[in-house]
């Protein structure tokens, strides 16, 4: 009986969903923009880590975690939309995950900005376009918070609608999802090399602990 009631509730909720239309399409690809942008941001962080030789500090890694937690909300909605099981409540859950993840990341960014706010402090790492990476991270979190807020305001009209299977757009969507999964996997490898057999990162990392521990140097 309970499951029948749940089913009826789900049906009512689903039937109240608008057909999607332009707003639904925009919402679907807006979420891909979110996933793609954070994937590229983290690839940029890898460039600075491996090419420029700057090791990420613990607060830098925590901001990456904030980006992952936030992007998982967008990914959750995308995958639900692709499988055709997205309901307004799950859309709200995904946006909520994105919002809280961005809030957690912004908190870490603000702490790191405050650490280097005193006049004359050079900051941590090299500035990019005049701002340090943790300041750019705060900008991205602010953009995500704004996006999520706007998406929630327009939620009744903007339930994401996925393109039909086997269409070219579907392949683009799959590519974006796989890019994010690849970046997440690369971060797992990177953090294992940075931390070695320790549970946490050193406060001021200067090398890859795993290599040091394995080679004894």
């Amino acid at each position: 009986m309970k499951s029948a009631n749940n089913h009826r509730l789900e049906t009512i909720t689903d039937s109240s969903m608008p057909g999607g239309g332009l707003w639904g399409v925009l919402a679907f690809w807006g979420l891909h923009g979110w996933v793609l942008a954070y994937s590229l941001v983290m690839l940029g962080a890898f460039f600075i880590q491996f090419v420029k030789g700057e090791f990420p500090c613990p607060l830098c890694m925590l901001q990456r975690y904030g980006m992952f937690l936030s992007t998982m909300g967008a990914l959750f909605v995308i995958m639900q939309a692709r499988s055709g099981t997205l309901t307004p409540s799950r859309y709200a859950q995904g946006l909520g995950m994105g919002l809280i993840g961005a809030l957690a990341g912004a908190m870490v960014s603000l702490r790191q900005i405050a650490l280097h706010i005193m006049p004359g402090d050079p900051g941590y790492g090299l500035p990019i376009l005049g701002l340090h990476l943790y300041t750019w991270a705060l900008v991205t979190f602010a953009v995500v918070l704004t996006y999520s807020g706007v998406a929630l305001i327009f939620a009744p009209r903007s339930i994401p609608v996925a393109p039909s299977e086997m269409s070219a757009l579907r392949w683009i969507s799959t590519g974006v999802v796989w890019l994010f999964i690849g970046v997440a996997a690369a971060n797992v490898v990177a953090i294992v090399f940075l931390e070695g057999f320790a549970w946490v990162l050193p406060d001021n990392p200067v090398g890859y602990h795993l290599i040091e521990q394995l080679t004894g140097k």
């Binding site: 904030g66 959750f76 809280i100 702490r111 797992v188």
Partner: protein, 47 residues
């Protein structure tokens, strides 16, 4: 990070949404715990 990656894979595989939400919350709590661990000093700021 392994936990976050695992949750990402579950989302991609279309696991039950309750499992995803619970794991995501565990990841968030772990991140906040790490933040608490690394941030030990009070900022000495005066304006």
């Amino acid at each position: 990070m392994i936990l976050l990656f695992g949750t990402t894979l579950l989302i991609w595989r279309g696991a039950k949404h309750q499992h995803i939400i619970v794991l995501w919350i565990v990841g968030l709590v772990a991140m906040l715990a790490l933040f608490r661990y690394h941030v030990t000093s009070i900022l000495n700021l005066s304006f």
